[in-house]
């Protein structure tokens, strides 16, 4: 059996008295692709953001292999880590955002090179060579010197994926990566994600693309009201949902 890479234990999170996550447990094994589905407001994006501590969870724990993320234990209490240690931990996750969030003042190549050189202290020449390979792998070898505003949404998102991959993350987190794209550009981004999954990348994907989940996901997790309602293989959850809530959701998105 494959090794567990990521473990979430009883994750809780509230915003202004409203509990968005109400005790979530999830284990992700090496090379697994997990799709998080659920209606808007179900907490799936928030859950993704607690994993790399962009949203500090109020309760519960995130483990990357055996490392507790975001906190250290002191006298039986959890204390938030310093900025420097947090940054080092976050570098182990890759994140792809709905709005791409490329750095507009840097070219595509510079976007990919920035973090490896700044954070991992990689040799700039080697980092550039690697970045060119990564851009080629997402089909953008000829757009390396373009600035984000001159790229289409699909191209920007592919650069963002290359940027995340440049840090050689243990897990890639996707937060609705195709939701901001024009319909005709969705396919090129999903295609890149498909190839990553095939290469054995461990991926957690918040998405509304049921087709992608059906084809690529090893496991589908359905969230609603801040809890996991149902999970299983794509065939189980998508073809034969056991819970009424899941069935209702699926009839609406299809």
């Amino acid at each position: 059996m494959a090794e567990t890479v990521l473990s979430l234990r009883d994750i809780h999170k509230s915003f202004g008295g409203q509990e968005v996550l109400r005790g979530i447990d999830l284990d992700v094994t090496e090379g697994e692709v997990v799709c998080l589905l659920g209606p808007s407001g179900s907490g799936k994006s928030t859950l993704l953001r607690t994993i790399n501590h962009l949203e500090p969870p109020d309760g519960g724990a995130v483990f990357l292999r055996d490392e507790l993320i975001g906190y250290r234990e002191a006298n039986g209490k959890l204390v938030e880590l310093t900025d420097r240690v947090l940054a080092r931990q976050r570098a182990k996750f890759g994140m792809v955002f709905q709005g791409f969030n490329l750095f507009p003042h840097l070219s595509a190549l510079e976007n990919v090179v920035e973090a490896p050189v700044l954070v991992k202290r990689e040799d700039p020449e080697q980092a550039r060579a690697r970045a060119r390979e990564l851009l080629a792998s997402v089909g953008l070898a000829d757009r390396a010197d373009a600035y984000p505003r001159h790229l289409s949404g699909g191209q920007q998102q592919r650069v963002a994926i290359a940027r995340a991959l440049a840090m050689s993350p243990a897990v890639l987190l996707f937060d609705e990566p195709t939701s901001a794209l024009d319909p005709e550009l969705v396919g090129e981004v999903l295609e890149v994600m498909r190839r990553l999954a095939a290469r054995g990348m461990t991926m957690l994907v918040v998405t509304h693309e049921i087709g992608f989940a059906k084809d690529v996901a090893d496991r589908v997790v359905f969230l609603d009201g801040g809890v996991v309602v149902e999970q299983g293989t794509a065939a189980e959850v998508l073809a034969n949902p056991r819970r009424r809530r899941t069935r209702e959701f699926l009839t609406h998105v299809r």
Binding site: N101, P104, H105, A115, L118, V119, R149
Partner: protein, 292 residues
């Protein structure tokens, strides 16, 4: 009467020569407006060139005189120092205003409110007359020895009072400029930087500041130009900057207008240079934002 109504009016016949240029007739307002402006300029020009009170030879005589050049140098110095301190103070105040600690942000906001609500001339006079409020300044360890003691009037020279007043005033305005710049950067940018493993400082230095600069540079250029001109106010404290230098000269020779022309010409020269620098900086920092 025809039973068929034509759907379209008959086509006009083509003009013989289709290459003829279109010429818009001139509106009578064009003539009237031009005449008023022209006459006004002629009158002003007549006064400027021919008036015996605006003696151009005096302008030429003093334009490069040592006193005027020294005054110009002092004005440029004052502007540079006050601007540098003002930008530093403005950055500090902007970060304070955005601080999550209520006391800190409140203090910064109050400072900005106070300074922007009171005239710069009053600040200059206040610092110049500080001795009237605090006669002596001392640094001492409580219940211990006095490390440093000085008479305020010896310590705060007119020049230092000018620098303090201009810098403290500028800091309040620059705080608003810098704050606007920092807020203009999309929050998603900080998130992306964090997610890539950048520390708070790395995020600020490599992601937020370069993008904020693009927004901050044009108004900062305007602030420098304003500062250059506002520094003339410190002439009230007999600080020998450009304006005071020409005042000293015309108080002796009564060539008031020619010497004001000398000062104005120098202000124009320096502000024009600053416009060029500002234009160059704006282009440099709009990288990635140019259309086309």
């Amino acid at each position: 009467m025809s039973t068929e109504t034509p759907l379209a009016p008959p086509r006009p016949s083509r003009p013989a020569d289709t290459r003829k240029r279109v010429k818009a007739p001139l509106h009578p307002g064009w003539w009237i407006g031009s005449a008023i402006v022209g006459l006004t300029l002629l009158n002003i020009g007549n006064v400027v060139v021919r008036s015996p009170n605006l003696d151009w030879s005096v302008v030429g005589e003093y334009f490069l005189s040592t006193d005027v050049l020294l005054g110009l140098l002092r004005t440029v110095e004052l502007t540079a120092i006050a601007m540098a301190l003002g930008i530093a103070g403005g950055m500090l105040l902007a970060v304070m205003q955005l601080s999550p600690v209520p006391v800190v942000s409140w203090a910064a906001k109050s400072y900005v409110w106070f300074v922007r609500g009171t005239p710069l001339l009053v600040h200059i006079l206040f610092w110049y007359n500080l001795a009237a409020l605090v006669p002596a300044v001392a640094i001492e360890i409580p219940f211990g020895p006095t490390l440093f003691e000085a008479n305020t009037n010896d310590l705060i020279t007119p020049l230092l009072a000018a620098v303090i007043a201009l810098s403290l005033n500028e800091a309040a305005y620059m705080a608003e400029v810098v704050r606007g710049g920092l807020l203009s950067v999309d929050p998603g940018q900080r998130e992306a930087a964090k997610a890539l493993g950048m520390t708070h400082r790395q995020t600020l230095r490599r992601v937020v500041v370069p993008q904020a600069l693009r927004v901050v540079i044009p108004p900062t250029g305007n602030q420098v130009i304003s500062m250059l001109k506002a520094s003339a106010l410190v002439s009230v404290t007999s600080t020998p900057e450009l304006l005071y230098s020409v005042q000293v000269i015309y108080n002796n020779n009564f060539k008031t207008i020619p010497l004001l022309v000398v000062a104005s010409a120098w202000y124009l020269v320096v502000t024009s240079l600053l416009y060029v620098v500002q234009h160059y900086l704006e282009r440099r920092y709009s990288r990635g934002d140019r259309r086309g």
